[in-house]
Symmetry: C2
Subunit: 262 residues, 2 copies
């Protein structure tokens, strides 16, 4: 990777990397952090962490009471810049809502980012028990139905690299962890046009996904419905949910195509 | 603002400010930008814009085909760091969904950030015509029902400053633009415990909001339902929607309180 080294030494703006690391230090488990905690979790010196935090305070992204620091809602501007630049979530949402109203299961749309799927739209079904998934949630692609649909459509050379290097960890006792078996599964998914994952990401969770194609025929995203195992057998789920899911994917594609002239 | 100048000259990390400005250059109207466009919209030199863009490419936040640049889904990590640090959206969502199922109007939760409200949770109703509002959307506080609930609960000194300096623009012909009249309205809202805004943000849109109180009794957020004017009169909306909205706010407060021990 000579290019990367060259970039790092020459053009790379380390202050930006460090500032973004300070932002990412805050999460659900750490909504409020002291200066020392930010320094520890980012690997920065206290002096450097302090400069980045005070800069973020001044820019309106971080709040402090003098001791504790927390993110402010302005930070949503950054992620929102991405979401609002995608027409996909906006176009997909009404069709996702119609599907959820029909089948009473949650529906999501995600894209591939490296070896993970990232949720860019989600319509949960109305349930007492909800799943902690929202826009921005990431999962390893190999163990999810949407991830498999996206991997199945990836360029051959990229997929070869992925299967050679990916850490296929057993997230449940059913997770496919053998690269050769995963490849066979992806080939079948590409041929049949959908993926059904049976409790490989989490026990009790089955998920069915279909590709969303762009104008040029390439797969740009995946849409899924997930169901608790109590809904019925693998075969019941395919029979009940696959036709409406494929119809939803088709409607999204049509609307995306219709909007491509703008 | 001597402090700010001191900070700027001493500790302020300008590279971080500039890098974040490059991220914000991308939006719905500009999902793909050339180097020149980024330089123009951020006021950076081409050389500086190039360094920031290449840094963001290397960090996985930006994609480029060599000419056009666009944000990658990893950027959601930044905004998501904020959202996942709030327990509010997660706690509120099931109660918002129950309200939407009951009244068939969209429900949102927002917080005050400076002089704007920022949406942190939203459950749209199922409609053909949807409103382009999502998590991260911002509106001027003075013209929205949630903003008025939040302004009505703001500290007196802060509110005085706000009313003296805010630009109260007429967004519709009904928008209150007189600071004295706005103050009277806010006093009434504080006393009655809800705000009803009648087509002041947009013609045809009425919205009803209630405060969400934290453990110490302070107002931490607002929850609203919005309805098209065709739903009925101002009085009909208050009669039909206010009781379920207040009940929803109370349920959210109870759940927030129950979770405060964690």
């Amino acid at each position: 990777m000579t290019d990367e080294v060259a970039t790092r030494s020459g053009e790379f703006v380390q202050s930006l990397e460090r500032g973004l690391a300070v932002i990412r230090a805050f999460d659900a488990e750490h909504p409020q952090l002291t200066l020392s905690e930010v320094a520890r979790s980012t690997g920065l010196t206290r002096a450097a962490a302090r400069r980045f935090l005070l800069t973020l305070v001044e820019l309106g992204y971080v709040h402090t009471d003098g001791r504790l620091f927390s993110l402010r809602p302005r930070i949503l501007d950054l992620g929102y810049a991405y979401l609002s630049s995608l027409s996909l979530p906006e176009v997909a949402r009404p069709h996702m809502e119609a599907l959820v109203a029909q089948v009473h299961e949650s529906c999501s749309v995600s894209v591939l980012d490296g070896d993970e799927v990232v949720y860019v739209a989600r319509v949960p079904t109305k349930r007492i028990m909800t799943v902690g998934i929202s826009v921005g949630t990431r999962f390893p692609a190999y163990a999810t139905s949407m991830g498999r649909v996206l991997l199945a459509a990836a360029p051959a050379g990229w997929l070869d690299d992925y299967l050679r290097t990916a850490q296929l960890r057993p997230l449940t006792r059913r997770t496919i962890t053998d690269p050769a078996k995963l490849r066979t599964t992806l080939t079948r998914i590409a041929a049949q046009g959908y993926a059904l994952v049976d409790q490989e990401l989490e026990e009790g969770l089955r998920s069915l996904a279909a590709p969303i194609h762009g104008d040029n025929g390439s797969v740009i995203a995946a849409v899924n419905v997930s169901a608790h195992a109590s809904r019925g057998s693998f075969e019941t789920i395919r029979k009940e949910l696959l036709p409406p899911l494929l119809a939803t994917a088709k409607r999204i594609e049509e609307d995306l195509g219709a909007g491509s002239g703008r």
